[in-house]
C-alpha cells in the first residue's frame, strides 16, 4: 500500500482533480436529495412527523381522505383507546390585516398530545408563516369564517399539501366546513383493523394523498438517476486513471508483482479518494441545512447522507473493480515494448 500512497503523494494534482470531481458529484447528489426530501417533507410533514401507527378512513371514501366521513358510532373506539384520536383536514386560506392571502390546511382534532388544542377564534400556525410577517397576536380572517382567528402560537414542521397547517378548534372547523363528522382516525403503534373502516399504514396513507405519490416518484427518480449517473462517472474516472497506468502495471507485472497487489493498490487509492470526498461533501451538505434560506425546503438527515455515501462507495468500488479487470489482461511484454512506463 506504500506504493499507492507514494503515487498519490507524487501526483497530488491528478488525485486532487479526481477527488474534487468525486466531491462535486456527491455534493450535487446530496444537495438534490436534500431538496427532494425537503419538498417531500414540505408536502406532508404533518403526517410524516406522526409516530408509526394506523390511519382509518370510512370504507366508502374511495381512498380519498377528503371524502371520508367517520360517523359517531365508529368514533366509540376513541373511548376505548386513550391514545387514539380523530382529525380532519381541509384546504382553505387566511388573510391578514393587510389583506395578504395565504393558502393553509385547516386542521382540527380530538384531544391528543400530538396536536396542540385551541379554543374557538384562535389559531396555531406552522412556523413557516412567520416568514410572511405573521406574528403571535395577529388577527386573521378567512372567507369561510365570519369571525377572526387570533394567532396564539406557532409550531414547527406542520405542513400539508405544501401549505402550512392552521390548527383550529373543532367547533370552528364544523362551522367553516359544515360537517360534524371526522375524516380520519389515528391509532399509534398498532396495525389492528376496525370493522367498517379501511386501515392504512403511514406509508399507505401518504400514498393516498393526491399528488404525493407522483411527486415522490419524480423526486426519487431524479435522486436515483443522479446516483446511477454519478456511479458511472466514478467508474469512468477510475477507468481513465487505470488506463494511464497500464504501462507501469505491465512493467511491474514483468518484474513479478502479484496482480492482487495491483488491485489492492487501485482499491486503496479509490477508497481514500472516495472517503475523503464523501466526508467533505457530507459536511458541506449538512452545513447547508443550516445556512439555506428558511423558505427553501431542504431536509437531509445524516442517515440519508450515510446511505447515499454507502451507495457511492459501493458503486465506486464496483466501477473501479470493473475498470481494474484490464489490469488482469495487461500483457507485460506489450508494456516492455512500449517505452517508458
Amino acid at each position: 500500500m506504500k506504493i499507492a500512497w507514494k503515487e498519490m503523494k507524487k501526483n497530488k494534482s491528478r488525485y486532487l482533480i479526481v477527488g474534487s470531481i468525486v466531491l462535486l458529484i456527491s455534493l450535487v447528489t446530496f444537495i438534490i436529495s436534500g431538496l427532494a426530501n425537503g419538498l417531500s417533507q414540505d408536502n406532508v410533514s404533518l403526517i410524516k412527523n406522526m409516530p408509526d401507527g394506523t390511519f382509518y378512513m370510512s370504507e366508502d371514501a374511495n381512498e380519498s381522505f377528503s371524502q371520508s366521513h367517520i360517523n359517531a358510532s365508529k368514533q366509540q373506539i376513541l373511548n376505548s383507546k386513550h391514545d387514539a384520536f380523530a382529525f380532519s383536514i381541509q384546504m382553505g386560506s387566511l388573510k391578514n390585516e393587510a389583506d395578504n392571502q395565504q393558502s393553509v390546511a385547516f386542521l382540527t382534532s380530538t384531544d391528543t398530545p400530538l396536536l396542540k388544542q385551541v379554543n374557538e377564534g384562535e389559531v396555531i400556525l406552522d412556523s413557516g408563516l412567520k416568514a410572511e410577517g405573521i406574528e403571535v397576536g395577529d388577527e386573521l380572517s378567512s372567507p369561510l369564517f365570519d369571525g377572526t382567528f387570533k394567532v396564539i402560537d406557532f409550531v414547527d414542521n406542520q405542513t400539508f399539501n405544501h401549505s402550512p397547517a392552521a390548527l383550529i378548534s373543532q367547533e370552528t372547523f364544523e362551522e367553516m366546513f359544515r360537517t360534524d363528522e371526522w375524516q380520519l382516525l389515528y391509532l399509534p403503534d398498532t396495525t389492528e383493523t376496525i370493522s367498517g373502516l379501511q386501515s392504512y399504514s403511514k406509508k399507505e396513507f401518504l400514498s393516498t394523498i393526491p399528488s404525493y405519490q407522483a411527486e415522490q416518484m419524480t423526486l426519487n427518480m431524479i435522486v436515483w438517476f443522479l446516483v446511477v449517473i454519478s456511479g458511472m462517472l466514478f467508474g469512468i474516472f477510475f477507468y481513465m486513471m487505470n488506463v494511464q497506468k497500464v504501462g507501469m502495471y505491465g512493467i511491474l507485472k514483468a518484474l513479478g508483482i502479484k496482480t492482487s497487489v495491483l488491485f489492492k493498490m487501485m482499491w486503496s487509492q479509490m477508497a481514500l479518494i472516495t472517503i475523503i470526498a464523501l466526508l467533505i461533501s457530507t459536511a458541506i451538505s449538512q452545513v447547508f441545512q443550516y445556512v439555506a434560506p428558511e423558505s427553501m425546503p431542504y431536509h437531509l438527515t445524516l442517515t440519508t447522507t450515510l446511505q447515499l455515501s454507502l451507495v457511492f462507495a459501493v458503486v465506486g468500488f464496483i466501477g473501479s473493480t470493473l475498470s481494474g479487470f484490464q489490469i488482469k489482461k495487461i500483457d507485460p511484454l506489450q508494456a516492455i515494448q512500449q517505452g517508458e512506463a
Binding site: I3, K10, L252, K253, A254, L255, I257, G339, E340, A341
Partner: protein, 234 residues
C-alpha cells in the same frame, strides 16, 4: 551445470490466416557466471527467445528448464514467483516507476521478490548495490531528474537487488550513447561475475560484444553460431 537450459524451443504466431514460425527448435544453455549475448538481424527471433526464456510469453513447444523445473509446464502464478525471486530484468528503456525515488525502486523490488529483511538490512543492501552501480549520490532522486545513463544504472541495480540467478537484458544500451553503453555493459558484466549470476542479453551493437562471454548469432529463428567472445579473456 547450466543455470538455464532451453531445449527445442519453437514459437509460432498467427499472421492473418497463416501460421508464422519465429523460433524453429532453438537449443541454448546458459552457464553460471557467464554473459551470453544474442545477436542477429531484426526479426531473427532473439527478443522472442529472451522473453520466452524469462517466462514472459508462452512457447509453442519445447522446454525452458530452470532448477529442474520446466517453465512451460508451470502455472502462471508459479512462473510469476520464479520471475520475482530468481530473475532480474533490464529493458531497453529503464522503465523505472516514475513516482518512486531510486531508493524506493530498489525497496519495491525487494518486496516483489518477497525478501524478508529488516528495515536496516534493507537500507544496507540498497546502499551496497547502489555503490556497485555508482549511484549512491542519487539515493533520493526521482527518475525524471536522472540522465539516461543514470536511469539505466538504477535499472541494473533494481534488477540485481534481490540476488537473481538469471539476469535478462533486452537491448539495455539501445537508448544510450556510446560511452554510457560501454559503462552499462561493463556494469552488467561486472555484476554477473561478482554475484555469480547468468546474464542473457540481446544487442544490436557489435561494440558491446566484448563484454559477453559467449555470442550467439541467430538467423531466421535458429541459432546460426554460438562462440566464445574475443573479449572473454581480455
Amino acid at each position: 551445470m547450466a543455470q538455464l537450459q532451453l531445449e527445442q524451443i519453437r514459437k509460432s504466431f498467427l499472421n492473418g490466416e497463416s501460421e508464422e514460425e519465429v523460433l524453429k527448435g532453438v537449443n541454448l544453455s546458459l552457464e553460471k557466471g557467464e554473459v551470453t549475448a544474442l545477436i542477429g538481424a531484426s526479426g531473427s527471433g532473439k527478443s522472442t527467445l529472451l522473453t520466452i526464456a524469462a517466462g514472459l510469453q508462452p512457447l509453442t513447444s519445447g522446454k525452458v528448464l530452470f532448477e529442474n523445473q520446466n517453465l512451460a509446464e508451470l502455472r502462471p502464478e508459479q512462473v510469476r514467483k520464479i520471475r520475482a525471486r530468481h530473475f532480474g530484468f533490464v529493458f531497453q528503456s529503464s522503465h523505472l516507476v516514475p513516482f518512486l525515488t531510486v531508493e524506493e525502486q530498489l525497496a519495491m523490488m525487494m518486496d516483489i521478490a518477497g525478501m524478508k529483511v529488516s528495515k536496516h538490512e534493507k537500507e544496507t543492501q540498497i546502499k551496497n548495490i547502489l555503490e556497485q552501480v555508482g549511484m549512491t549520490h542519487r539515493l533520493k532522486a526521482y527518475p525524471p531528474s536522472l540522465s539516461g545513463g543514470e536511469k539505466q544504472r538504477v535499472a541494473v541495480a533494481r534488477a540485481i537487488i534481490h540476488n537473481p540467478k538469471v539476469l535478462f537484458a533486452d537491448e539495455p544500451t539501445a537508448s544510450l550513447d556510446s560511452k554510457r553503453s560501454k559503462d552499462t555493459m561493463a556494469l552488467l558484466q561486472g555484476v554477473t561475475k561478482s554475484l555469480g549470476m547468468t546474464t542473457l542479453t540481446v544487442t544490436h551493437d557489435e561494440e558491446m560484444l566484448v563484454y559477453a562471454d559467449r555470442i550467439v548469432t541467430m538467423s531466421d529463428g535458429q541459432i546460426l553460431e554460438s562462440a566464445e567472445s574475443a573479449g572473454r579473456f581480455s
